[in-house]
């Protein structure tokens, strides 16, 4: 034991991140997915803030501010607008088997934890325990991208993966250099816009956002 209150709070937020990752995996509605993504961003920002406060690393404050601006406000707003423009507000993804996906998810979490434990034992930061959770979040987002068929949930999975990586960076090494973080943030933002444009093209081409259509080589 002996971890400080800040460390415990970071652990709690890490657990919350994992929970949100699972909630995203099991959520069928697109709008709720966006809301969950915003929550994940908020938890991420809060934990970054806590790490910044407890370690006195000033550049992490900028990272936290960046996370709030980008992941809680801007990207969810862009996604909301996209959903409105595409008119897929009430889209429900039916054919995913949630209990099985959840079980695969548990297996992934065990794998991630087993992988991270020896690594985190070498570290001495207050957040060393959370590396496994960050890894699990990344893998769960991967899983989400694999099992989803519609384009928007896949993109949200991609963005959630970036959240996981961001969290891994904060927990393992107290964050990347600010320049790198800025670059990644910009990439994510631009990526979201490009995906938005892609959505319209996909729909124009196939009359649906179901990406199974893209697996065919020829038009029939």
């Amino acid at each position: 034991m002996g971890t400080s209150l800040a460390g415990q709070m970071v652990n709690l937020l890490a657990a919350f991140l994992l929970l949100v990752a699972f909630a995203m995996l099991s959520q069928r509605r697109v709008l709720s997915l966006v809301r969950l993504f915003a929550w994940q961003g908020a938890a991420l920002a809060a934990s970054t803030l806590l790490v910044a406060y407890s370690t006195g690393q000033n550049h992490l404050y900028y990272s936290a501010a960046l996370a709030v601006a980008l992941k809680v406000i801007l990207i969810p707003w862009v996604l909301h607008r996209l959903i409105d423009r595409l008119d897929v507000r009430w889209d429900i993804e039916t054919p995913i088997n949630i209990p099985t996906t959840m079980l695969v998810g548990i297996a992934l979490v065990i794998f991630a934890f087993a992988l991270a434990t020896p690594i985190s034992e070498m570290s001495s930061t207050i957040t060393r325990g959370t590396l496994g959770i960050a890894l699990a979040c990344v893998l769960l987002s991967f899983l989400m991208m694999i099992v989803r068929r519609k384009a928007i949930p896949q993109v949200i999975g991609f963005l959630a993966m970036e959240n996981g990586l961001f969290f891994a960076a904060t927990s393992a090494t107290h964050g990347m250099p600010l320049v790198v973080e800025l670059g990644v943030a910009l990439d994510v933002l631009v990526g979201t816009f490009i995906f938005g444009i892609f959505f319209f093209h996909i729909r124009e081409q196939f009359d649906s956002l179901d990406i199974r259509h893209m697996e065919k080589l020829k038009e029939d």
Binding site: M1, T3, L5, Q8, M9, N11, L12, A14, A15, F16, L18, L19, F22, S26, I98, P99, M102, L103, G105, I106, V109, I110, F113, A116, T117, S120, R128, G129, T130, G132, I133
Partner: protein, 316 residues
């Protein structure tokens, strides 16, 4: 220390559980009525119902086997035993070494098996239907329940419920994400096991939806009274297990009569809050289709497993 005070404590607790359980049921019903803008029935209504049922003559189907007659007593006995094992007011009960948390889950399972057998014994379609549904829910809820209890057991290093409570109540305050996961999972299991709304509606008699009610449809008079009373004790026992694991404040040690008033006050306060919370959950949520129940319970299982895993990871 002599055994006499602890045994007196055990007897006091066992009697208290049996007598107070219908009161909890009445409180939940009253809260529900308030929340749904109905005029509330008296909080003592469950007692009147039980008294009424005990005074009636029992009607039993012609082809019923002795199992059918025996089951209400077994159900009531199992629930009472569970109520005696769970540390309600004090830790270190003389009964407690008789069963750890695994055996406790087994006691509930035993009651479930007999209820299902009795429901199928008569051979009506509703009985069989209810029994099958109950077993479906049961076999999904049990692993989730066990995982929840294991999380607490890992934290305290024992599967004895009394030891768990001792450890959890008297340690310094540490935020445990694993316990938060386990608490949510436990709440979901509690709803499912006690035939509460997202899974089953305790007040319904609609053929398509009832689970628990379908099983006991053939019972009347004193048998029905015992089953209903047993159900009330089950809810009481589940709630006190929840308190023991996630809110063990104010509990007395055995033989400590001075701590008893505080323990009773804490218990009453916790039950009042939990009962109102249960009523709130039941009011704001709609009953699931039966085929969504596995999803609900697999989520509970998932949360419980996550709780256990995060305990190992964040233990450092």
């Amino acid at each position: 220390m002599t055994q006499a005070p602890t045994i007196a404590f055990q007897i006091f607790q066992s009697i208290l559980v049996v007598l107070a359980a219908p009161l909890l049921m009445g409180w939940v019903n009253q809260c529900r009525a308030w929340l749904q803008n109905r005029s509330a029935p008296s909080i003592l209504l469950p007692y009147y119902t039980l008294a009424k049922l005990f005074h009636k003559d029992a009607v039993i189907a012609e082809h019923a086997s002795p199992l059918f007659r025996l089951t209400p007593y077994i159900l009531f006995g199992c629930m009472w035993l569970a109520g005696g094992i769970v540390p309600v007011l004090a830790t270190a009960l003389p009964f407690a070494p008789a069963a750890d948390i695994i055996a406790l889950v087994a006691v509930f399972a035993l009651a479930r098996v007999f209820a299902a057998l009795a429901a199928m014994d008569i051979g009506t379609s509703f009985g069989g239907l209810g029994a099958r549904r109950e077993m479906l829910i049961g076999f999904l809820a049990e692993p989730a329940m066990l995982m929840t209890l294991f999380t607490a057991a890992f934290i305290s290093g024992s599967t004895q419920l009394t030891t768990i409570v001792d450890v959890l109540a008297h340690r310094q305050f540490v935020i445990q994400p694993s316990l938060a996961f386990a608490a949510v999972a436990f709440l979901m299991v509690l709803l499912a096991e006690n035939a509460r709304i997202p899974i089953d509606n305790p007040t319904t008699h609609l053929e398509l939806t009832m689970v628990h009610e379908a099983m006991i449809l053939e019972y009347s008079a004193r048998h029905l009274a015992l089953i209903e009373w047993g159900a009330a004790i089950k809810l009481f026992a589940y709630m006190t297990i929840g308190f023991a694991l996630f809110a063990p404040w104010g509990i007395a040690t055995a033989g400590d009569w001075a701590g008893l008033p505080l323990a009773i006050a804490a218990l009453v306060a916790k039950l009042a809050v939990a009962g109102a919370g249960l009523a709130l959950i039941e009011t704001v949520s709609a009953k699931f289709r039966l085929f969504r129940a596995p999803e609900f319970l697999s989520t509970a299982f998932l949360l419980a497993v996550l709780g256990m895993l995060t305990h190992f990871l964040l233990r450092t």
